[in-house]
Every structure is written in C-alpha cells, then in structure tokens.
C-alpha cells in the first residue's frame, strides 16, 4: 500500500513497495500514456516528472515516489490547454509510431523548465530518449519552436 500523488490527485495503490513506479502508474492507477520500453532506464519511454524533474519511472520504486509530485503525460496539460511542448509537437507533426513520444515530450518539458531557450548542445545532452522511427529532426525543430512560443 502506498499513497502516490499523480497529476495532482492522491491515489492509494495496493502494490509492494519495490514495484517500479512505471507499473504502478500503468496497471494500478490505469494511466497508460507512460510507456514500457526497456525496463532498465535506458530508452526513456517511461519518463515522468517527479517534483518537476524528468525521471525514468521504470527505474524508481513506488516507495521512492511516495510524498512526491508525480506528473505523467496525461497531466501535462493545464487548465484545458495543452502544454506548449505538446502544441509544438502537433504543429510540427512530430510523432511517427508515437510510442516513445510521451517520454520524449516529458523529457523536453522538463528541459524547457530548466533551460527555457536550450541550445542544440543543451538538447543533445538532455534528451537521450530512444526513437526507433527516427523523429529526431522534427523533435529538434519542435523543441526550438516550443522554446520561442
């Protein structure tokens, strides 16, 4: 049993303490926008915000997440408006298969919070998510567009 605060709501989840946050979010809370890709914190498909910082939720346990503000892709929009990163993603038609894009968008949203006008080098260092379709060219364009939005 653990109380998790996800997208502003506190939810009691009946899981073992060492359950990866990813699986608690997907299976116990039922938010499937956060994806499973590798389970070893390498691909970034499971990226969420924990107290505003981009974290790979497959590599973090539920007990480590207790008491923290967790934001998933479903909670990124606010007051009925999509986040500027999501808006830039739509304007630049970024996703192909789309499976990695939740994690990519969460990683980018956290980057822009820290560095509102990232350089290409900032992007290279901060965005390490895998995309097998190869959307990187549009991802970079959309990051710069969101930064100047």
């Amino acid at each position: 049993m653990a109380n998790l605060t996800i997208n502003g709501k506190t939810i009691n989840v009946d899981v073992e303490d060492d359950t990866p946050l990813l699986w608690a979010i997907r299976e116990n809370v039922g938010l499937t926008g956060t994806k499973y890709g590798c389970g070893i914190a390498l691909c970034g498909a499971c990226t969420v915000h924990v107290d505003g910082v981009a974290m790979r939720s497959c590599g973090m346990t539920v007990s480590e997440a207790v008491g923290k503000q967790i934001t998933t892709i479903e909670g990124l929009a606010s007051n009925g408006a999509l986040h500027k990163v999501q808006q830039a993603w739509i304007a630049h038609d970024v996703p192909q298969c789309g499976y990695c894009q939740s994690g990519m968008i969460m990683a980018v949203a956290a980057l822009l919070k820290e560095k509102p006008k990232p350089t290409d080098q900032d992007i290279d260092e901060a965005i390490t998510n895998i995309c097998r379709c190869g959307t990187f060219q549009q991802v970079r364009e959309a990051i710069h567009a969101a930064a100047s939005a």
Binding site: V15, E16, T19, P20, W23, R26, E27, N28, G30, L31, T32, G33, T34, K35, Y36, G37, C38, G39, I40, L42, C43, A45, T72, I73, E74, L76, A77, L82, Q86, W89, I90, D93, V94, P95, Q96, C97, G98, Y99, C100, Q101, S102, I105, I123, D124, E125, I127, T128, N129, I130, C131, R132, C133, G134, T135, F136, Q137, Q138, V139, R140
Partner: protein
C-alpha cells in the same frame, strides 16, 4: 485541423468488442424493395461503398485496411480516397475494417498486409477508385432528386452544386439515397491526373498526431478488458529447441499469480493479476530447456559456414548475369577483390510484442498491433481451432513494426494462453529481454565481390557472390523459385522493383544459400540493406582502384539507367560533390533501387582519432514515381537514416550457445538525438510508376557514411557493426 480519430475508433471497438463479442463494422443490412443492400456502420450511418461511410453531419469515415505503424499510410491512403471523393478533408476520420468482416464480405478491402513499402503503392488504384465511385454515386443521388443531368453538377468539399441553377446539397443529405444506388461500372470510373490533386500530393498533417502527444493513443500494450489478466512469457532461448520442465511449486505463493501454462512445446507463461506480478514470478520460475544440437551454434560457426559459401566451387543460385564474368575476370589486366559481411539485426520496436486474447469455445477474439491483420486472423483460427466465423482480430495502432509485426508468433501465443483460461481475457506482453531473444532477425550474409578492368581502366566484369541466409526459405517457402530466393538479390536484380543500376559487360550475381537455425524476418529495408553496402562500397573501391572520382565512375556505368542516375546526380549536386567540403569534412555517396523507388544518399562526416565519426549532414534523394504526402516522405527518409545508421554503428546480434547474446538496449543500442545528422531531402517524383518510401532509403545510409569514412581515413570498413571495430559516434 482534422479529427484525430484512431483512439475514438479504438475506444468504440473496445466497447463493441466487450459488450457484444463479434460485432464488427457493419451492424445491419437494409434490404429496400428493388434496390441493393445498404450496409451500415456501427453508428447506423450508411456505407456508400466499403471505403466510404458518410454521417448526416458530413463527417466522412474512410476505411483503411493497411496498418499504421508510424509510416503515415493511414493518412496517405485517406488522402487518396478523399481526393477522388471530393469530400471536406477537415471532416475526415478513419477506421480499420476487421479481418473477420473481410472474410465474411469476401475480401472487399483486398490485402491487409503492410510490409515491403507497399501500403500506398499496391492499393492506391483501388482506394482512389473507391473514392471516385462513391463521389459518382453521391452526385447521382443529388441529380436524381433534382432531375438534372450529372454532367451539370460538380462536387467539392462534400458539397454538390448544380452549376446552371446554383442549387447545392451536401453529401450528408444525399448519402441515404446514394447508398441505395447501383455503383457505376468500373470502366466509367475515371481517376484524376495526379497533377490536378488538391489533397493528395500535399503535406497535410497526419490524422493521428494529437493522441500521440497526449498519451491517449491506445497501443496493444495499453489495451484493457474488464476482468483481464496479464501474462509474461519465456520461449526457448535456443531457437528450435523445446521446453523440458518447470517447477511451478517454486512460485506458487507469489503475489497475484493465477496460473502457469505451457505454450506450445517451447514456451512457458505466467498469468497474473498484473503484468509486473507475472514477470516477477516468471523470472523466479525454474525452467529446464531441452536445448538439442542447436546449442552448439555460434556466430563464429555461422561465419565459417558462410565463408565457405563464397568459394566458387560451392553451388549457388544465379540472380543476374550477362556475358561471362568468370572468364573476363580470369583474363583481366587488373582485378579488385573484397569480402564484406552483415550481421543479424533485431527490429527492436519501441513497443514490445503483445496481444490480448479472449477465448470461449464459441468465439475467439484478439486485439493487437499487427502489420498483417489477415495473417493474425489465420493464426487466431489455427491456435484456437475455431472456424473463421467464430474468430475476430481487432487491429490496434502499432508502436513500431519495421517488419516484425508482420509475423504472428505473439498472436499464436496469446491465443494458446487464453485457450487455457476460457472466458478470461489475457494480455500477453513480452519483456524487452524476450523481444531481443525471440526476434525474427535480419538475416546474416557475407559477400565476395570481384571487379575486372581492361588496360584503359574500364570495368569489364563484376562478380558478386552472396553467401548466407534466405528469409523466404523459412518465412514464405512457397515464394522460392526452384529453390532460389529472388528477394536475396534486392538491388542487384536484372529488372523489377529492385533493379541493378549499372551496366557491366560481364556480370554474375549469385547466392549460396545457407540457412542457420536463427529465425529470419523482414527487417525494414530487408535485403537492400546489406546488398547496397556490398555494392556501393565496392563501387567506391573500384573507382579508387583506378584513380577515378566515385560519382564519375558510377555515371559511366549508369547511362542506361536514367532514373537511378537522376537521383545520384540530384544528391551529388545538392551536397556539392566535386566542390571543396568544409575543413575536415569528407563526403561519401551511394545509390540503390528498392521497393519500386530510386534512392541516393550522400553524407558529410568528420573523423577524430580515426574512430569517432560525426555525421554532419545527409542529402537524400528519392524518386518514388508519385508522392502522396511530401511531409511524411521527408520523415520516412530522415527516419531511414536513424534506422540504418543505428544498425551500422550500434547494431548486430550475435549467437552464442545457440541463442542471442543481446538482451536489451544496453547491448543493442540505438541512435539518440545528439547523433542525428541534418537530413536534407530532394524529392524528384518522375511519375508513371508507384514506388514505396518507408524502406529503400535505409539501404544508402550505411554505404554513404562508410564511403565518407574511407575518404576521411583511407581505411575501408567491410564489416558491420562499427562498434566491433571500436568506431563510434563522436
């Protein structure tokens, strides 16, 4: 902006599927007196024909039989139907027909298979006719009402106008009447000249983007049914071996575990309340495998066997020949020879394989991402033992395909598990480790190439001897031609959609087929990948061996192949071939034909310490005949370099003790944004034919970079991946 409709479809499919097992697209038939049957969609709106459903508010539902896996086919096919239909594009949504409905209605949507870059090119004509036919019926319905000739009416944006009177009506108003009309004869359906296209040919936005940015899109891995359980599976890691035993008692008390089941004769699955519980218990389950002889196979033993196939004394299939290459080489003034190889590769779709199945003795339903709905349906029939009318497959959006999801092993497993738990829906999801272990791998090959020159440095002969695995031998044996896998010669064929682009007086291209026990599959680009590396790097070697410029050298051999030459020239010009490159930057170039399209690529790279490569810029050109959505073609081309260069730098799956050594992205890495070069596309659609887009460009990615590496270092790389030679991205 268009409605982003797939999730709505999915949600509805879910509701229908859960509430009334077996309900498909059509829920009823109207049989009016004296007229044809009207087939209605789930919401009651009539079909004008199988491709087009129109709602009273003019919402146009376009049916798409091919699968969307990121390549944009869903949007492209909808554009083609909408172009001829003359409907309001802003009111277009799409919907997948189901394979069960297709069988019941005698395959009105044709082939569902989505591979070989065929999504658009092999269905464009009949889907355009579907749109045109529906438009003619809608206009006819209006003219019947107005009692005017159809020739006085025009249609645009879902509005029909009687030009002389200015009277108008909408598709939504006449659709009920149109649906009752007899369709025009096929010969009376005229398609537009592509130069008159208004929706097709334009870079309109994808129809599925919004839900892919909000987390709302439901992939197979996300699918849920009430009361559903979750399964994790382990199949025999030594390919072709068997499951001997497992000790169920060891995990009996583990949380959430409901059942441990044998799946076929080679796999075991744990079914639990959550997938995390199922996976945790499976990892703790002691399993004994009956590994057999295949456990002795290694990458080294495979390489040795393939190397023997390079010897001319061994039998081989001849894929392309003219003149007498062996004799010309034997008597040549100058001879150049090189041996290349290409490893196994895993598709590594971001979404691991998965399928959800619900079995009862009266019905078996499957929900999954698949590149081949009809093959998934056939697998469902076979595994369930039920007849077609008692089976259904509901297709979901794919988290990547690249050829892997054309296979149905995961569908079969899901049904075999569900069959042991009648009435309980079970979602089978592979771990990444299972996905890496149980791939359908890009085949392993080697290639020996020999070129001969006369005294004036003209290329007089070329002998290309391939040795290695055939995909068709295992996957589609009926497609072999007298034992020969013609697809093994992709890019090197005498004619067809993967034709060789050079004229050499004496040519011999042959294949010594050697099939190791590792299961092969169609991996985005398929045999174009290695054949383009072999041929295009060797072309570079030949050019340098006689001191000629690689582009000039190629041009001399390409005069009879103007379309191949046109894309080569396009990239050469755009990248500035022949002009000085920036300080420290070196160029390489490659061309190939595959999937009916002509492609070329050029790379600008710099190399540090001989081992760190920075790819600065790529120029890529493609001639696919026609382009339905240039924005998506551009994305497919850029993405092709990510797939092709990931394989070149980081890829390669190796066999030890009969099984794959790579287990996850730590041992099978993939390019990140920092490594992504700028990709510039030059599209030169020349018309008159329809080629594919998703795959051919991958072929030129690796050789363009390898040839640039030679230009930079003087060192020729003939083996993939580069990580094995301690070469990496800078």
């Amino acid at each position: 902006m268009n409605q982003h409709v797939m999730p709505k479809l999915n949600r509805r499919a879910f509701v229908i599927g859960a509430a009334a097992a077996g309900a498909g697209l059509a829920i009823g038939l109207d049989i009016p007196f004296g007229g044809p049957q009207v087939v209605r969609a789930a919401d009651g709106s009539p079909e004008v024909n199988v491709w087009v459903v129109i709602r009273p508010d003019n919402t146009t539902v376009i049916r798409v039989a091919r699968s969307e896996m990121g390549q944009g086919t869903l949007t492209g096919l909808a554009q083609l139907v909408a172009e001829e239909l003359e409907c309001d594009w802003s009111k277009v949504i799409t919907e997948y027909p189901t394979p069960g409905q297709s069988v019941a209605r005698k395959r009105p949507w044709g082939d569902f298979s989505t591979g070989g870059s065929r999504g658009i090119r092999s269905s464009q004509e009949y889907v355009r006719k579907g749109g045109a036919t529906a438009r003619m019926m809608l206009v006819q319905a209006a003219t019947n009402e107005w009692k005017v000739p159809a020739s006085e009416c025009t249609a645009a944006n879902s509005v029909i106008t009687h030009t002389p009177s200015g009277r108008t009506t909408t598709y939504g108003k006449v659709v009920e009447a149109a649906a009752k009309l007899t369709p025009p004869a096929d010969a009376d359906v005229k398609l537009k000249d592509p130069k008159d296209w208004k929706i097709a040919g334009k870079g309109v936005k994808r129809l599925d983007t919004v839900d892919k940015t909000t987390g709302a899109m439901i992939y197979g891995a996300d699918f849920k049914l009430p009361g559903m359980l979750n399964a994790a599976i382990k199949d025999a890691p030594v390919f072709g071996s068997k499951l001997k035993s497992y000790d169920e008692a060891k995990i009996a008390g583990m949380k959430g575990v409901k059942k441990v089941v044998k799946v076929g004769d080679s796999a075991v699955a744990v079914v639990a309340d959550t997938w995390w519980h199922a996976k945790t218990a499976l990892d703790a389950l002691p399993i004994v495998w009956d590994e057999g002889e295949n456990a002795k196979v290694s990458s080294e033993s495979i390489a040795k066997w393939l190397a023997e196939g390079l010897d001319n004394s061994q039998p081989a299939f001849i894929g392309n020949q003219n003149g007498d290459a062996k004799a010309a080489i034997a008597s040549a003034v100058k001879k150049v020879e090189a041996v290349y190889n290409y490893p196994y590769q895993n598709h590594a779709t971001m979404e691991p394989m998965n399928a959800t199945a619900l079995y009862t003795p009266d019905k078996c339903e499957v929900w999954c991402g698949t590149q081949n709905g009809e093959a998934a349906f056939a697998a469902t029939l076979e595994a369930s033992g039920l007849p077609a009318e008692k089976c259904e497959v509901h297709k979901l959006i794919l988290g990547g395909g690249f050829g892997r999801r054309g296979m149905t092993d995961y569908v079969r497993q899901a049904v075999l598990i569900a069959k042991q738990m009648p009435g309980t829906p079970v979602k089978l999801l592979w771990s990444r480790e299972e996905d890496m272990a149980q791939g359908k791998f890009h085949p392993v090959t080697q290639c020996k190439l020999t070129g001969a020159f006369d005294a004036d440095n003209n290329l007089t002969a070329l002998h290309v001897r391939l040795s290695g695995q055939s995909i068709l031998y295992t996957v589609r044996p009926a497609a072999l031609v007298n034992g020969m896998d013609t697809a093994a010669f992709q890019g090197l064929s005498p004619s067809g959609d993967a034709a060789f682009g050079y004229s050499v007086p004496n040519l011999l291209v042959e294949h010594s087929m050697r099939n190791p026990h590792v299961p092969p599959g169609f991996w985005r680009g398929v045999n174009v990948n290695q054949n383009a590396i072999y041929m295009e790097c060797f072309m570079d070697e030949l050019a340098h061996s006689v001191g000629q410029d690689p582009v000039e050298f190629r041009r001399k051999l390409m005069s009879k192949h103007p379309k191949h030459l046109a894309v080569l020239n396009a990239v050469a010009e755009k990248i500035g071939w022949g002009k000085p490159a920036p300080q420290g930057v070196y160029r390489g170039i490659a061309q190939v034909m595959g999937y009916g399209s002509y492609v070329a690529g050029a790379a600008e790279i710099s190399v540090t310490d001989g081992s760190k490569i920075k790819v600065h810029r790529i120029v890529a050109s493609t001639d696919p005949g026609y382009i339905v959505n240039p924005a998506q073609v551009e994305r497919q081309i850029a993405g092709s370099f990510v797939y092709g260069l990931s394989a070149l730098f980081y890829g390669g799956c190796t066999v030890k003790d009969g099984k794959m050594e790579q287990t996850n992205f730590d041992t099978y890495n993939s390019m990140r944004i920092a490594e992504m070069p700028k990709v510039e596309c030059v599209m030169v659609p020349s018309g008159g034919f329809w080629g594919g887009v998703g795959e051919p460009t991958i072929g030129v990615a690796a050789p363009a970079v390898l040839n640039a590496y030679f230009a930079a270092t003087g060192k020729r790389i003939r083996s993939v991946p580069l990580k094995d030679q301690n070469i990496t991205f800078a």
